[in-house]
Amino acid sequence: MKTHKLFENGSHSWLMFGRDDDKPEQIIDTNQYLVITKNNALLMDPGGIELFSAMLSAVIKQVPADKITHIFASHQDPDIISSLGLWDQALPSSTLHSPWLWESFIRHFGMKSITYAAIPDEGNSLRIDGVNLEFIPAHYLHSSGNFNVYDGEAKILMSGDIGAALEEVDAPLFVENFDEHISKMKMFHQRWMPSNSAKNDWVQRVRKLDIDMMCPQHGRIFKGDDVKRFLDWFEALEVGLIANSG
């Protein structure tokens, strides 16, 4: 599991974990993100059971366990949060922020001690040690209850499955050539994202945010102008399609 620092200022830092060489072959490679503030940390989309040991090992190299007070799950998928039962043993005092829609489903992963903070459909924000993190609605992209995390100070949007690409475990961290990158994203977005109107609504809202980096849960991070390129491409893309069905 590799660790990359994406942002750091006086108040907080953003780390990305991923490109795990040790992961079993048949599971999809995932990116996990951690925001570290003065006394706390927020772990985002911590991943599946198969990844837990690698993930906790990577995180514990950065912060003590009792500092990880918040966890975020953008939606209910197993690659996002099936490790919850184990985090529940490791971080029993933490709070899980996740869509209200999925609470009774996510609890199936095993949650005895962690507190579930249900995010309402319209989103809300989490303030830790003076750092404001907004939970931005991204419903139907792809899950019917789905959120992104936006940090206005770092200008980072953790976009979950939006912008995700299916590629090799040793792929570069950042998109280097947007046009070439399209082929790695197109099918994923058309097949997994069911709603054009939900997509266009999200694009319009996200265009108003000041974003330097858009960080998806699979594949590469979009930086600078590639964020706008992605929004233009995504807006024009027809979604809710099965390949070859027209």
């Binding site: 040991s53 906790l56 514990i60 039962g85 184990l86 490791a90």
Partner: protein, 201 residues
Amino acid sequence: MSDPTTNYFVSVAEIAAKLDQATHIAQQLSLTASNARAVALRAGERAAGFRPLTDFIDRLAEITISSSKKINLLASTLSRTSADKVRADNAIEHFHDVYVRAKDSPFIHSLDAQFDLCEAAQQKLNTKYRRQIDQLSDELSMLSNELRNAVILATLSRVEASQAGVQYQEALINVANNVEGAAGKIKNHIHYSQQMVSTLE
């Protein structure tokens, strides 16, 4: 049958399922007892020797049902405990893995307190698991001993049936066969479960 050394929680679930079947058969035994009483009443004096036996069949059915229910409950509880134990064992395994992978981390000992708690919970579950296996094992032996009486009861029933006259003989022999058959089936389930339990001990 699953490998009990690695999939003990599956073995426990299999035991619970077997014993659930035993409870259903015990309920059939209870029907046989009611039937026996009705036939003996109709036969009147000619089945005078059979009537006291129906009380024993009744008692056997009652004991078998209550014991099967108790065993079934014990097996379900054990099944839940074993699933909890799997989760606890699994967490401990992951913790060990993290201690190796992140041994050089300056924060590795921040996990110690939670690891200790998990280990204590695991110990508690292990003790609970052993105790529940012992209880299940004892109850299975008790029911198995009780069911030995079914063979005697069936033999006595056949003797008495032969003296009840042609009209009722077949019905009473049928009662004897049912008692023996149901008891035999339950004993098979118990024997299977006892073998499975012994692999867990």
